[in-house]
Symmetry: C2
Subunit: 276 residues, 2 copies
Amino acid sequence: MQALSELKRCQGRKIVLVPTMGYFHEGHLNLMKVGRNQGDDLVVSIYVNPMQFAPTEDFANYPRDFERDKRLAEGVGVDWIFSPEHREMYPEGYQTHVEVEGVTSNLCGISRPRFFRGVTTVCTKLFHIVKPHITIFGRKDFQQYVTIKRMVQDLNLDIEVIGMRTTREPDGLAMSSRNVYLKSEERESALSLSRSLLLAKGVYEKGERETEIILKEVREFIAGHPYVKIDYAQICDVVTMKDVSRIEGNAVLALAVWVGKTRLIDNHVFGEPLDI
Amino acid sequence: MQALSELKRCQGRKIVLVPTMGYFHEGHLNLMKVGRNQGDDLVVSIYVNPMQFAPTEDFANYPRDFERDKRLAEGVGVDWIFSPEHREMYPEGYQTHVEVEGVTSNLCGISRPRFFRGVTTVCTKLFHIVKPHITIFGRKDFQQYVTIKRMVQDLNLDIEVIGMRTTREPDGLAMSSRNVYLKSEERESALSLSRSLLLAKGVYEKGERETEIILKEVREFIAGHPYVKIDYAQICDVVTMKDVSRIEGNAVLALAVWVGKTRLIDNHVFGEPLDI
């Protein structure tokens, strides 16, 4: 992969990387379609990265279907799939990590303490292997997108990071590979995330700027559904990811909610449209 | 620098980077002379990296002389000097680091807890900025050399790391920018490091393999000099940097000794020549 990318770069071709954990849905395919138009060689990495899962999490059960992913990728014009083995990514004696501190100290950084370290480490490795000019991330994982942008800037990686809006089901549910975990009776409760974002958007547009007032409505709305347990519902600065008490400039409402045994995330940046 | 390096790479030119903190001595110049023969474009970075100094250490007083360094670099055929400002390397909001765990947990990793994190972080940044094919490190900082090799391998950096033997004064003292700190009456004591390495080499060559027996002689020899305080004297595996009780295969005798207010390091890999 490195030799191929080096060759392509020296031929003047622009390389775009879409890093994924596979099991593609429309959201992934939309990132690839954008990637297709942004460069000459479109690389998709498929790697379920053990370093970003805690022992209690769903690494073993995370859905995988390489043949289906390959067909779907080909369908949107992907040139190369990079899908390494664990023993290639973390051989015996492996001992290095990359960590972004500030922006990972809130939200998922609290619920999943090793998650971002795993993400930033594997992305650094993928960037070194694929050598892209451009990389594309979904903004459903908003904090992840901010973390990657911060890392790329701090470590002087010569890569443009593009963040793409969340792709949703017709009823508003944010697309996620983990949606396959949802039982049929949990599906309606899963909609409480996107619907609470719409609710918050409405409250904001009527002029409310106090985050505790908005968050109280959001939390009450979600908690009114069966099977749910809120992990967090917070409003944060989009650069620092720290909680804000008033919305001034850009702020993001970030949600993580357990629906049964499935942990879902979603978010809304105030002042931007919500695609429902 | 990135644009220049990208251009050179695409012209098929091989880039060599020698990362330094400046205040060049013969050791630095020897790295550059080797670099000159290894590639087409020879880049030397000069950056006294605050992240690798503890607040109690000599960051403020570390010797600097850019104009002299520039002349010396030109004299050995260096093509480019990359010498950034702190505000470019660590702008406001900076929050990312790179850490190698296992090999940094012994020796200088104990005496200087943040040192290797600072080194691996700044080297990652320099590698991303200068985009070298080859980088050259001195092996006086043997643990640093091992750490950089480990990091390059673990993070899949597409860079060859070359380690160069230590350059010494005619009397055996390992060259170091910090040697200028030594008072004239301390100079003889500073020779206790290289002389104890020669002593250990002799004991080894007579067949001794028990590290405690060799280390006892080394420590007693050094301690017999005025102004000295041993920080560490250990024999370690050259890959893991963990202490070994017997020398089997490659092992390194690593020394850190305070001579007055100057902390000096030196080392000897058993089975290899010591250039004195």
